[in-house]
Symmetry: C2
Subunit: 231 residues, 2 copies
DNA sequence: AAAAAAATTTAGAGTAAGCTAATAATTTTT
DNA sequence: AAAAATTATTAGCTTACTCTAAATTTTTTT
């Protein structure tokens, strides 16, 4: 009949779930609230920008996102709930694999990335109960509740992070402009991805990889001032 | 370059895996070795016959099946290996869900039907080891080994089967023609699906459902002669 | 404020898997 | 062995998601 107004939403496909999840992640790591860009999405999803535009139109039509052509997107409540479900599925599964099947933390993401889309609610709830209803994954990231509530993330100092675990820089605790400039010069801006490759003993410098591109040695005292969040 | 001869096979999509699995199941439940029919496949996969024909051409091109237009298909070794992998994934997962997450047998198939396509080898092997490397699922069906070997199925008398568990009739142990005619008249031919809905006490009659269609009461002594295999 | 650069959207196609309707081959019935 | 019924295939479309190239809009630089 009509295509616009009172339309029941389709249940999201795997592709939609991926889009919504990435929009959520980008949204919550935006500095400002200006909407998530097509370009960022294209990068994160490894598809062309044209494909993103295309998909955004569909997601907007089904009211999973608010979409202002040329000005980016943001999730609606319905979209946020889909994203939360993916995050819950992902984190519960990861926690389960580590706790019950001897996975190490770095093996776990790949598996969860696919399976998060296909786990039934029942299975996720059973794993979660079996684990003792955890509120955080072994990483420290909060697990959204079944009804989509999520605790605000706790930032951690870079010095507390496990080797090989990718994190994102969220806050730099009162540093001088000179130091900030230096940090920027090695790619350490807010939202940069950091992986600690090695940590010298006796509070020695960290060997870090920034945005999967460059390696740098980072002074321990500097690392203490960098606050990060699990990816 | 060339499209025919020495072509590396594509890795099978989910749809392909489903086709190959069903071909395997039909092949091993065929009375004769005449090849699996398009029509049967269409029914089991719940798609149109034209869609099946279409897909068969692709599967044949990739050499997962031998396909003789109009005369049905059979699996090649490559196709059989794909089917075995699905069966292993399915049965290991089912066993795991029952043993470790408190699933009951009748909840388990639905979950496994989807997930079998997305489980990594690593995860299946870990579940399998955690379970103590079982060779059979809780149902009694053999679990194929990692290299695709499967033990010939053990037939069980219908009287040994758990309530609500769908099984297929495979062998009727020396009955008179009159009895066989009677059995046929209530739909109990080889490969009929049977679900026991209830079992009266003191070796009383079984209430069975045949091919998801009709209910019948079956004498206990008759049931003793019906040999079935887990679905 | 114009020019240049970057980001976004539109236009037009491709691929995988499905469908219906029409046609062809095979099998069964008469 | 012809006719009828069944099964299988072909032809032509559809939907979901993707792509490249071209056109457009926004942002940044000069």
């Amino acid at each position: 009949m009509n295509t616009k107004a009172n339309q029941k939403r389709q249940t999201p496909s795997r592709a939609w779930e991926d889009y919504l999840k990435i929009i959520y992640k980008l949204e919550s790591s935006e500095n400002l609230g200006k909407g998530v860009q097509t370009k960022e999405l294209a990068q994160r999803l490894a598809v062309s920008q044209a494909s993103v535009t295309n998909m955004l139109k569909k997601l907007a039509e089904e009211q999973y996102i608010d979409y202002q052509p040329y000005y980016g997107v943001s999730l609606t409540e319905a979209g946020r709930l889909v994203a939360m479900k993916m995050l819950r599925n992902h984190r519960v599964l990861e926690t389960y694999l580590v706790a019950r099947l001897g996975y190490s933390w770095d093996e776990v993401d790949e598996e969860a990335e696919t399976l998060e889309h296909f786990l039934s609610d029942k299975l996720v709830e059973r794993m979660w109960h079996d684990l003792g209803q955890p509120t955080h994954d072994p990483h420290g990231s909060p697990i959204p509740s079944i009804d989509g509530q999520i605790e605000p993330v706790q930032l951690q100092s870079l010095t507390e992070i496990t080797l090989q675990t990718p994190v994102r820089l969220k806050w730099i605790k009162n540093r001088s402009p000179e130091e900030l400039r230096y940090l920027a010069s090695i790619g350490l801006h807010i939202n940069a991805q950091i992986v600690i490759k090695n940590q010298a003993p006796f509070q020695g410098p960290l060997l870090i990889e920034v945005d999967d591109q460059h390696f740098h040695a980072l002074d321990y005292r500097m690392a203490l001032a960098l606050f990060v969040e699990a990816e």
